[in-house]
């Protein structure tokens, strides 16, 4: 099974399949190996599946040198260790900080960046569709205007370009209005 192509072509289906295949085994392993309760073990597994997805989409993972299971378990292992290191600092169960850690590559001004990212994320939620989808397709999937036009069914590339710019300005406005 070529998991990388599968994730790229039918992401939600592939993710659900990976989730179904490895959830029970991974969660049991995390519970046993790291003496975790069920909920944190499950959250760590969920974040690990998302990181696997992100690595495929952003091009960090282009070829698997081991099985997908080994790769996923390696992410789970790192995330579990990270969770235990920060256990005193993380209150309650919320795996967003784990995702932020994954997204931010630099360690400088981390708290400042964290606040900024959460603000953008909230701004994206407030935008709604089609703005949200257009910005996600452009910035995350690196899709060009022609492909976005086709996917969203717009008249022509100029319509998409104008819309994308307006969406971007709306997001900028939200961020400026809500930053402390």
């Amino acid at each position: 099974m070529d998991w990388i192509s599968y994730i790229k072509s039918d992401e939600n289906k592939a993710l659900k399949e990976i989730y179904t295949l490895y959830r029970d085994e991974s969660v049991s392993w995390l519970k046993k190996q790291y003496k975790l309760d069920l909920e944190p073990a499950k959250e760590i597994f969920q974040v690990s599946v998302i990181i696997l997805y992100d690595n495929v989409i952003t091009g960090k993972l282009v070829e698997l040198s081991s099985s997908i299971k080994s790769y996923l378990f390696a992410i789970c292992k790192n995330k579990a260790a990270e969770y235990l290191r920060k256990q005193g600092k993380i209150t309650g169960l919320d795996n967003i900080p784990m995702l932020i850690d994954h997204v931010i590559e630099t360690k400088e001004h981390k708290e400042e960046i964290e606040i900024k990212l959460e603000l953008v994320s909230k701004g994206m939620l407030s935008l709604g569709d089609p703005c949200r989808s257009i910005l996600q397709l452009f910035y995350y999937k690196s899709m060009n205007m022609e492909s976005i036009t086709d996917l969203m069914g717009y008249k022509n590339v100029n319509t998409t370009k104008n819309l994308k710019y307006k969406c971007f300005v709306r997001l900028q406005k939200y961020i400026n209005e809500h930053k402390g």
């Binding site: 992401e11 939600n12 289906k13 993710l15 659900k16 989730y19 179904t20 959830r23 499950k42 969920q46 974040v47 599946v49 998302i50 997805y53 992100d54 952003t58 795996n95 967003i96 995702l99 932020i100 994954h102 997204v103 931010i104 960046i113 900024k116 990212l117 959460e118 603000l119 953008v120 994320s121 701004g123 994206m124 939620l125 709604g128 569709d129 949200r132 989808s133 910005l135 996600q136 397709l137 452009f138 910035y139 995350y140 690196s142 996917l151 969203m152 710019y165 971007f168 997001l171 900028q172 961020i175």
Partner: protein, 264 residues
């Protein structure tokens, strides 16, 4: 306009789509132009924030899926075997209704000239679910939260909406291409069921048979499935099969069918 051009330039730089000349130009301006450098920082933050928002969306989808997994497992454990229907007077009323139905249906099939009459019968008994573009899920604390779907899921949702609108309007030939597309885009077998229904209504009996005899497991209500197969059997003039399929069904299926036939 100048700002728009700068945004576009920086976007291609951040997304690693800029050519060597553009990269050189951006680097040089970042060193000299404070406003440009500030715009770059802003765009970089937005880029990472959007990435976080996508990952957060995916996480929500997984969490929602996790609940479905647990629920379906629970359902399998908890659901009792199919109850045996009571054999009292209701059974005989049902049987009488079935015989009457068969007689009238026979008459209907002999006389009908268009497929629209059959359509009325189908639409009166089996109604599709409403399909929304926004998923509503229940969070851990019991509150309902809306989850916006991914672009691909929005496309599927739009096709679903059109397919079921046309189905409800009994425009089966126009609904067919949408169901056809849905069976390819979405793994939910419910689309195959409705697609097969549409095939039946436009007279593609072979296609309908293939779809209606697919192994749906518990994805389609067993009564709906039996009813649809009974209607197929009627089309094939296999009346023994029609009777055997209709007999165990609840009275509302027979009653609604009967009402629809009477209205023809």
């Amino acid at each position: 306009m100048e700002n728009e051009k700068d945004i576009s330039l920086l976007e291609s730089y951040i997304l690693s789509q800029a050519d060597d000349l553009a990269i050189k130009h951006v680097k040089s301006r970042l060193e000299k132009d404070e406003a440009f450098a500030s715009l770059y920082e802003e765009l970089l933050g937005i880029h990472q924030g959007i990435r976080l928002s996508v990952l957060d969306d995916k996480l929500k989808i997984l969490k929602q899926y996790d609940k479905q997994l647990s629920t379906s497992t629970l359902k399998k454990i908890e659901s009792p075997s199919t109850p045996i229907q009571s054999m009292g007077i209701k059974k005989w009323i049902g049987l009488a209704a079935s015989i009457l139905l068969l007689a009238m249906a026979g008459l209907w099939f002999t006389n009908q000239e268009s497929t629209s009459n059959g359509a009325t019968i189908f639409a009166s008994v089996i109604e599709p679910l409403d399909q929304d573009v926004v998923s509503i899920v229940r969070s851990g604390n019991g509150n309902e939260i809306n989850i916006l779907l991914t672009p691909e899921e929005i496309l599927i949702a739009e096709k679903k909406k059109k397919a079921y609108q046309l189905y409800n309007a009994e425009v089966y030939d126009k609904a067919l291409p949408y169901f056809e597309a849905l069976t390819k885009l979405d793994s939910d077998n419910i689309h195959l069921f409705y697609k097969s229904f549409c095939h039946l209504m436009v007279g593609d009996i072979d296609e309908a048979r293939q779809g209606l005899y697919h192994d749906y497991g518990s994805e389609i209500d067993s009564n709906d499935l039996a009813y649809a197969r009974a209607m197929l059997a009627l089309r094939e003039s296999n009346f023994d099969k029609v009777r055997s399929l209709l007999e165990p069904l609840p009275d509302n299926y027979k009653r609604k069918t009967l009402e629809a036939i009477k209205n023809l």
